[in-house]
Subunit: 148 residues, 2 copies
């Protein structure tokens, strides 16, 4: 019967975007983690990366291969992983967004540890628009708290 309602295409597009977000999510997670490791340990080794991502080491190696293909990272055999400029920029954005999402969730009453957990999945689907709304909420909330 092919019920092509006008809203169908829009809805299909929503799902398409969610799928797209998903395909970027792993890249974002790895890039962020590489940044974290460099800050904390001065380098990002494959083993540490794998451990923190909760995957086996060859899985991390494979992910790094994809990061390199996408121009987000470089690596030297048996030497660890490094972010490109693009990768470092992405890492910064991702970390900022992560912090915002967690802070926002906490602000609306989600316990810290749950917020941290849920944010890991949620953050990748938060658009610029929604992120701004979160930031505004946090700003206003802060102002309200300082009012007697």
């Amino acid at each position: 019967m092919s019920n092509t309602r006008p809203s169908d295409k829009k809805q299909a597009d929503h799902f398409a975007r969610a799928r797209e977000a998903q395909s970027v999510a792993l890249l974002e997670d790895y890039v962020e983690m590489i940044g974290d490791l460099h800050e904390e340990l001065g380098e990002a080794r494959v083993a540490d990366l794998a451990q923190r991502m909760g995957v086996a080491q060859p899985t991390a190696t494979k992910a790094i291969a994809r990061l390199k293909r996408e121009g987000l990272a470089t690596s030297r055999r048996y030497r660890g992983v490094f972010l490109t400029e693009t990768g470092a920029a992405l890492a910064m954005r991702v970390r900022a967004r992560h912090r915002t999402v967690v802070a926002f969730l906490v602000a609306v009453g989600v316990p810290e540890d749950v917020a941290e957990m849920d944010a890991e999945g949620i953050e990748h689907h938060v658009s610029r628009h929604t992120l701004t709304a979160f930031e505004d909420y946090l700003a206003n909330r802060l102002a309200a708290d300082h009012r007697p």
Copy 2:
């Protein structure tokens, strides 16, 4: 080097949960959509399902096969798809959650259409705990919030 900080396992677990959520996400989307179609059209045909999910028809067929394997749906060749009791229950929960997430996003200032879009990805990562926080926020915002 193997820096096994105590927090590593917890963080790894967060990612593991996010991955798990992702693997359930498609099931949830299809189940919800099948429910929608039954309500709107009285039946859920593969073609309509595919169109609304924004995928090719064989992709929908394959997804349905997985739904059947997981005991969420049944189907009769060339006749359409039906939810099992389990599937119908899941569909109800998913739809309620979706509505809550959208309403919540709108309540914190996200435009309707953006909320609808982002919710499609976010909802799958919203834990019971966080969902409750959203519901509470929606219930209380008129009274408590917006104290300018």
